[in-house]
């Protein structure tokens, strides 16, 4: 192989600044879109398991639509198509006045996609672990909403911390899609460095390690939460 390794690009100005800012932006998009995904996922997942037929139907439509369309297509729809099909005033605002439009769009698009996946996990957790205890809760005189809020939901969420960790990791990796609408996150900045220095291997090694560290931190964080709320011991008890 005729490649001339030069690791110094990783500590040279301005490349180190590019990579570092990309890493921070990836981190920010990941955390924000995960917050969106969790919020939507819990609300929609609860609606999906609600007694109301209308709520279940609407939640089902949301999940089916957002889970089935490729996230990259969704990103393009939100970024390029939405501003053209809304009323002119809104479209203009989206294109001109919305601060950091590509970052906001990326967060929303990725959050909505991941939210649909989280919602299915939430529903599954409630159905498998929470709902079977509803008769016992109702028998003590709790009202249906109380029984859901106090028993089915907390149990359902505890049961799915494992799968949610995977969803968190997927969300982090999806943040790299945002380079297609011009967000200079970690992957984009690595390519940027490659284009300027021809040291692509070093740049992408930095990106790889960056994603790895973020992913491992996310995994550790979820494990910590799982331990706090007693998820692991709960799963051991039910098997």
């Amino acid at each position: 192989m005729n490649y001339r390794w030069d690791w110094s690009v990783l500590i040279r100005e301005p490349y180190i600044d590019w990579l570092w800012s990309g890493l921070l932006l990836t981190l920010a998009i990941s955390i924000l879109s995960w917050a969106v995904a969790l919020t939507i996922g819990i609300v929609v997942g609860v609606a999906r398991s609600a007694p109301s037929r209308v709520a279940r139907l609407l939640a089902g439509i949301y999940i089916d639509v957002f889970r089935s369309v490729p996230p990259l297509v969704q990103l393009f729809l939100w970024y390029f198509v939405l501003p053209e099909i809304v009323p002119d005033g809104v479209g203009l605002w989206l294109k001109r006045d919305l601060p950091y439009p590509e970052i906001v769009t990326a967060v929303v698009a990725i959050g909505l996609f991941a939210g649909a996946r989280v919602a299915e996990q939430v529903r599954a957790g409630i159905e498998a672990v929470g709902a079977p205890l509803l008769p016992a809760a109702l028998a003590t005189g709790l009202r249906p909403l109380q029984a859901f809020r106090l028993i089915a939901l907390p149990l359902g969420l505890r049961a799915i911390v494992g799968p949610l960790t995977s969803e968190f990791l997927i969300t982090i990796k999806l943040s790299s899609l945002s380079l297609t609408i011009g967000v200079l996150e970690l992957t984009a900045q690595s390519r940027h460095v490659e284009n300027y220095t021809f040291q692509g291997f070093e740049a992408f090694t930095f990106a790889t390690v960056g994603y790895l560290v973020i992913g491992l931190c996310a995994t550790g964080l979820m494990r910590l939460i799982d331990g706090r709320i007693g998820g692991a011991s709960l799963r051991k008890a039910t098997t």
Partner: protein, 242 residues
């Protein structure tokens, strides 16, 4: 106190209850027995409205269970229920399990509820297990927590749905003893069980069910010495010989 009148229930084409009528008076202990699939569990779940039924009426203290005007949660809070598989909340301690409905249904303060829970758990012999989660307790202990959870609501009657069927043999007695004590204190109880020894010691009356019907409703002495129906005789022969 609890009156069932011509109760019918089907799951699709399957007729589970076919016109069940019975009356349970205050302070009575009634054992419901019969072969599996005879509708015993369904019948007692109809009493607190956990299972809706199509025809007939059930009233508890004059309040109809199936009337849409009835405040079902309030009615349920006056009837304790113990399930076959305990159904404790696995993410809570024994104490929290017993306190939850007191706080959210009876509006007792946390402190008041916990004090009462501790007292009742001590009474069922679990005073040293307040902070344990269900997974750290044996089956017999879990079932006693479940009884305590029902008792904490000061129920007027208690329903037991095969409370010892999921237990290892050596744990059955600790649960039956608690139940027997309750009966002696005058609690109105309906107990679905295969424990004929318990029925002989504690029951006032035995309801024998078969294929969705209450075939016999007799005082226990008569049920065990001279059952009226052939089906009950067959059943007794099978459960008493082993």
């Amino acid at each position: 106190m609890i009156v069932l009148d011509d109760v019918h229930k089907s799951y699709g084409p399957q007729h589970i209850l076919r016109g069940c009528s019975a009356e349970i008076r205050l302070g009575e202990v009634v054992v419901v027995c019969g072969p599996s699939g005879s509708g015993k569990s369904t019948l007692i779940k109809c009493i607190n409205g956990l299972v809706p039924f199509e025809r007939g009426t059930i009233t508890v203290d004059g309040v109809s269970v199936s009337s849409p005007k009835t405040d079902l949660p309030a009615l349920r809070s006056r009837i304790g229920m113990v399930f076959q598989s305990f159904e404790l909340y696995p993410h809570m301690t024994a104490l929290q399990n017993v306190s939850l409905a007191q706080i959210h249904v009876l509006r007792r303060s946390q402190k008041e509820a916990d004090e009462r829970s501790a007292k009742i758990l001590t009474r069922v012999g679990l005073g040293d297990k307040l902070g344990q989660r269900p997974s750290q307790l044996s089956g017999g202990q879990q079932q006693r927590v479940s009884i305590a959870r029902a008792l904490a609501m000061n129920p007027q009657a208690m329903l037991f749905d095969e409370p010892t069927s999921a237990l290892d043999p050596e744990m059955i007695n600790e649960v039956l003893e608690v139940m027997q004590e309750l009966a002696l204190e005058g609690m109105t109880m309906i107990v679905v069980t295969h424990e004929m020894g318990f029925a002989q010691r504690v029951a006032d009356r035995v309801l024998f069910m078969d294929r969705g019907e209450i075939v016999e409703d007799t005082p226990k002495e008569q049920f065990f010495t001279a059952p009226a129906s052939e089906r009950a005789r067959q059943f007794l022969k099978q459960v008493l010989t082993h």
